[in-house]
């Protein structure tokens, strides 16, 4: 099951998206899940030693709206949503609770409290928290796996984007601020004067935080920044489990490895490359 195709958003117009799987699957069906993400379900019956999955998408990316601050006071958000009757409000409310991958721990609440100054808005608290996580935690791709619990990340103070996203979500929800997990792709900037390296862009995870006045704001605790034109949103959910890019079950013995590469190519570069080839 794949959640690899980008979502359609006001600042992210998906002109074209295709997913190719090799070997040829006997079933390949698309649907939209509960959170509105694109899901592709596939079933490969024939024996195979390698499976290739290629997702190609042409996306028109526009600047995201400039966030309006401050917004609703952080400690009023949850109560406001409890009475929400709109689809948007109900949708946001579900991101207030513990979920399978994000428990609400006393530790995460304790870590969050210093950011919750009276009078700050939910978005301001989240930005402050993001900065602290970026300072207090070390990026270390060897420290964790996909299933490292928040508790351990909080104790060891290291991890990767997924861990920081889970941690930040756990912190925000534990003080009543709705937060969701976002998976997607991020463009890396090559050093000045160097060419963009193939496959150097990456799959990435960040979070969204909700304010009933100003809506959703996407924050990236790993890079300490608000999401911008370098971010492509694929899917969101309560935590990683809801949006895991690839899940599946294999029949038969043997070990397996997974490798992924991401290329985000600006249209201008693509045209240049095509011209050179001609």
């Amino acid at each position: 099951m794949f959640r690899l195709m980008p979502r359609e958003l006001p600042w992210q117009i998906v002109q074209e998206s295709t997913l190719t799987v090799f070997p040829e699957p006997s079933v390949l069906s698309e649907r939209i899940d509960y959170f509105g993400n694109n899901v592709v379900f596939c079933d490969i019956e024939q024996k195979h030693e390698v499976m290739h999955v290629l997702m190609e998408s042409v996306i028109d990316i526009r600047p995201r709206p400039v966030p309006v601050l401050p917004g609703m006071s952080w400690d009023a958000v949850c109560e406001r949503l409890r009475g929400a009757k709109t689809s948007e409000g109900l949708d946001a409310f579900q991101f207030c609770f513990a979920s399978p991958g994000v428990p609400l721990l006393p530790e995460s609440k304790a870590y969050c409290i210093p950011s919750c100054k009276p009078g700050l808005s939910a978005h301001q608290v989240a930005i402050h928290l993001m900065q602290r996580i970026h300072t207090d935690f070390t990026f270390d791709s060897a420290a964790t796996t996909v299933s490292t619990p928040v508790k351990e990340v909080l104790k060891n103070r290291r991890g990767v984007c997924q861990d920081f996203a889970h941690l930040m979500i756990s912190c925000l929800r534990s003080v009543g601020i709705p937060a969701r997990y976002i998976s997607g792709y991020i463009q890396t900037t090559p050093p000045p004067g160097r060419a963009r390296l193939e496959g150097a862009d990456a799959s990435h995870a960040w979070i969204g935080v909700y304010c009933p006045v100003n809506g959703w704001l996407d924050l990236d605790p790993t890079n300490n920044k608000m999401a911008d034109e370098q971010f492509i949103t694929v899917a969101w959910g309560r935590d990683y489990q809801d949006v895991s890019p690839v899940t599946g079950v294999m029949f038969g013995g043997g070990k397996h490895q997974v490798r992924a590469e991401v290329d985000m190519i600006p249209e201008t570069e693509l045209q240049q490359a095509q011209q050179q080839q001609q």
Partner: protein, 840 residues
């Protein structure tokens, strides 16, 4: 009547089911009590002892802890039925049907439009923060919008006599099978009473269930394939799953018996994949699909959610229905009933408060001692808390946890349940009781089981009624207002029955289990015969020179059990009896061994439990008695008693083989069991021969005698040869003579026949194991045994040893080939490791 009733004292302060406030028997209890009294206490107890034995032997169990097969407890059933007046039952039934309708409507709304949340009718946390709300199940659209095919509701009577709902069971509504079994046992024990009281029958409920499951099939065909999905023998109500499978005639399957291909669900059978149309599941929602539900569950079928979404399979109850049994929804159902159905609720609910609302929480904390505190959302293993029994600091702790996360708690009124009479130590005694009622959907409405599962507390003063905590069960009797219609699940006219001899549904897993059941039974038999041969020599009067073959026999017994024989047990002619006895007891009873008699019988019973829907009740009883016989002698250290036990085991084991041969149809299921049986016998007997015959010493004759005794071929030999035993005729009789049912050749011929028959399965044709098996038959029958009986310079028979080893190896190879061909469909699965969460 007076004799039984005069001493019956209702529990003060509780509603008495049987006695009215004036102190006389309520009218709907009268006919039954009159009949019961006519029996007299002695006769009731006597009949009931018979019934209890039947319960034990039929293996009716309830697995308490859910993790140890040994924690299976015999089903507790009380002989006195719970009577409910027909008029009251009519009212209850209407209430139950309304409730089924309501719960279904709530499920449809929650998994659909969520208008209850959008209009603010229901606090949205109850759905959105609820683990039982499975977002991936939203796109599943069950036929006719019926999420629930079956519903179970626990009801209890309030002190004022009103029946009230205590709990709904929508996910895996269990208990209907137990109710049916209770009915069979009680009606068999008191047939006249049952007939004269004109009690409504239960069979109609099950035939409605059957019809409904057929109707649910997405493909309109004559015989849709319906399976019952069980989590397996560790499930607390596995007995019921197997029972229903046998009663309804559907195969009982586990997750790995099924596979999803092209969005369709298939049963893996010996003959290939067979499409499944409807799944009656007894497995929790989250365990059903590791791909889209709980990824850590090993019980599920990857892709099942997708198959259900695509409508290629119908699952009853629909995946995600567990949401409706959320305890926190209880207090909202009366209001939801008015809102969704525009009707007043016909059944009361036990007063319940959800602490997720401020006012309710404060009220609960203020009057804490009046309530039972329970978890608001299902899935928590925590027991109900009775605050009035708590120590002050525990109480404080409870208040803190409620205030900390109030939405996780509900409070229920703590009132005494009504009491019904139970038969305890020869008299009627009141016990608190509850009933579980069942509703099944039909194409145009719903139908209530006229009866149900009564449950009682174990003590007079205990208000907790629970099977897990040692409570009992009762049959529930609803007297009919008019004549009883007879319904049986067997079709009445023979003409429209499609003749069937196939075993289309035999899954590879079941075949594998039967194969091993055969092997373990045979292993137990050879162990028993070996032990008996030894014990006879130890307990009977010995020959003047002692019994010289004992040393060899004990060594061989050690080899059979992977244990080194102990030195010095026998210093001829003196036997060290104490140590020998200890050695033998260790070999028989030690629980740590994997090949001994204890292990063989334990395993046979365990496997027997997994294929209960495939073996007869009598066969099961034998498995049970084998186990009991062995357990009963476990504390014995008198060899004579153990010898008696071994004799009994031989009789039971022979009965097992006889029943298998005589009462199982000789289809594929039987062939697999017999193949296992024959393979084990061939290997074990070659092994024993190799141990006993290849290094002969001066005492060979008694060893040869013993060899014949182990193979119960002594009489055959004597009638044929009328002389002392010699090696060559013995080998001929035990290896090559295909008329001797104990010979290796005999086993191989039967195995060969089974393999030939199996090759008729679709798409199989000529097979490697067929070639191997035919080669093996020729190898054994054509061999010139006189070539290998010679003794070499150091007194051994190296050629015989080599020959027997060759036979053992070839049979083992054959076993592997059979296994590869038929039984290894249960492939290992792996979750795709998903390291794509993000790297930067």
């Amino acid at each position: 009547m007076d004799s039984l009733i005069s001493q019956y004292l209702p529990i003060p302060g509780t509603y008495s089911e049987m006695i009215n406030p004036e102190g006389s028997v309520r009218s709907h209890w009268e006919p039954m009590i009159k009949q019961l009294s006519a029996h007299g206490a002695a006769s009731i107890s006597n009949r009931w002892n018979h019934a209890r034995r039947a319960i034990r032997q039929n293996g009716i169990t309830y697995n308490v802890s859910g993790n140890e097969s040994d924690s299976r407890r015999p089903w507790e059933l009380d002989p006195v039925p719970m009577m409910i007046a027909p008029d009251e039952w009519e009212h209850i039934s209407e209430g139950l049907i309304q409730r089924m309708h309501l719960l279904n409507a709530v499920l449809a709304d929650s998994y659909g439009e969520q208008t209850l949340l959008k209009k603010g009718v229901l606090p949205s946390e109850l759905i959105l923060a609820n683990k039982a709300f499975l977002r991936s199940c939203c796109p599943i659209k069950p036929p006719d919008g019926q999420y629930l095919t079956m519903l179970a509701v626990d009801l209890a009577r309030a002190p004022n006599g009103e029946m009230r709902v205590v709990k709904d069971r929508t996910q895996t509504p269990s208990g209907a099978g137990y109710a049916l079994e209770n009915r069979l046992i009680v009606s068999r024990s008191f047939p006249t009473m049952y007939r004269d009281c004109k009690i409504k029958r239960l069979a109609g409920f099950f035939s409605t269930l059957c019809d409904r499951l057929m109707e649910l099939s997405p493909r309109k065909k004559d015989k849709p394939r319906i399976v019952i999905l069980t989590p397996g023998i560790l499930s607390e109500s596995y007995f019921e799953h197997a029972y229903l499978a046998r009663y309804l005639g559907f195969p009982l399957v586990q997750g790995n018996d099924l596979t999803v291909r092209d969005n369709q669900v298939f049963l893996k059978t010996l003959g290939g994949l067979r499409q499944v149309d409807v799944i009656l599941r007894r497995q929790n929602d989250s365990d059903c699909d590791p791909l889209e539900l709980d990824p850590s569950s090993m019980l599920g079928i990857p892709g099942l959610v997708q198959a259900a979404i695509s409508g290629e399979v119908v699952i009853a109850n629909s995946l995600g229905s567990g949401l409706a049994e959320t305890p926190a929804l209880l207090p909202f159902y009366p209001m939801l009933c008015r809102h969704l159905l525009k009707e007043e609720p016909k059944l009361w609910t036990v007063p319940t408060w959800w602490c997720g609302q401020n006012m309710e929480m404060n009220q609960v904390i203020e009057n804490l001692d009046d309530y039972v505190i329970k978890r608001a959302f299902a899935g928590s293993q925590e027991r109900p808390i009775f605050p009035k029994w708590l120590l002050p600091e525990q109480r404080e702790e409870l208040i803190n946890s409620i205030q900390d996360d109030p939405k996780r708690y509900i409070a229920q009124e703590n009132t005494a349940l009504s009491a019904a009479p139970c038969w305890v130590e020869g008299q009627l005694v009141p016990r608190h009781s509850m009933i579980r009622a069942f509703v099944v959907a039909t194409s145009d409405g719903w139908k209530v089981m006229p009866g149900g599962l009564g449950r009682t507390s174990s003590q007079t003063d205990s208000t907790v009624v629970s099977m897990e905590r040692g409570g009992g069960s009762k049959d529930i009797w609803i007297p009919a207002k008019d004549e009883i219609k007879k319904i049986s699940l067997l079709p009445t006219s023979g003409n429209d029955v499609e003749l069937s001899r196939g075993e289309d549904n035999l899954s590879s897993r079941v075949a594998d289990n039967l194969f091993w059941l055969g092997r373990y039974i045979q292993r137990a038999e050879l162990q028993t015969r070996m032990l008996r041969t030894i014990l006879r020599r130890l307990t009977e009067e010995t020959l003047p020179d002692g019994t010289p073959e004992l040393t060899e026999l004990l060594r061989t017994l050690g080899v059979m059990n992977d244990l080194p024989s102990e030195d010095g047990l026998i210093e001829r002619p003196v036997v060290d009896m104490d140590r020998t006895r200890a050695f033998i007891c260790h070999i028989i009873f030690d629980e740590g061994q994997s090949n001994n008699l204890y292990a063989a019988l334990k395993n046979a019973k365990k496997i027997g439990a997994t294929v209960r829907d495939r073996i007869s009740m009598d066969t099961w009883r034998i498995l049970d008695r084998l186990d009991t016989e062995l357990q009963g002698a476990a504390s014995e250290d008198d060899l004579t008693d153990i010898a008696d036990m071994l004799d009994n085991l031989i009789v039971l084991l022979s009965a097992f083989s006889g029943l298998g041969f005589e009462s199982m149809t000789h289809g594929y299921a039987w062939r697999f069991m017999d193949m296992g049986f024959r393979l084990e016998r061939a290997v074990m007997s070659a092994m024993v021969m190799k141990e006993l015959l290849t290094s002969p010493d001066q005492y060979e004759t008694p060893v040869l005698d013993a060899m014949l005794e182990i193979n119960s071929s002594l009489i055959t030999y004597r009638t044929r040869y009328q002389s002392t035993v010699a090696i060559l005729p013995l080998l001929d009789l035990l290896i090559a003579d295909h008329t001797n049912p104990r010979s290796i050749a005999f086993q191989l011929e039967l195995i060969n026949e089974h393999i030939r028959e199996l090759s008729h399965l679709p798409r199989l044709g000529q097979l490697t194991e067929q070639i191997q098996s035919e080669e093996l038959v020729r190898f054994v029958e054509d061999f010139n045994l006189s070539m290998i009986t010679g003794i070499d310079a150091v007194g051994n028979r190296p050629n015989l040893s080599e020959y027997l080893q060759r036979v053992i190896d070839m049979v083992q190879d054959l076993s592997v080939l059979i296994n590869d061909r038929y039984l290894s469909h249960v492939q290992p699965t792996h979750n795709l490791s998903s390291l794509l969460g993000g790297k930067v």
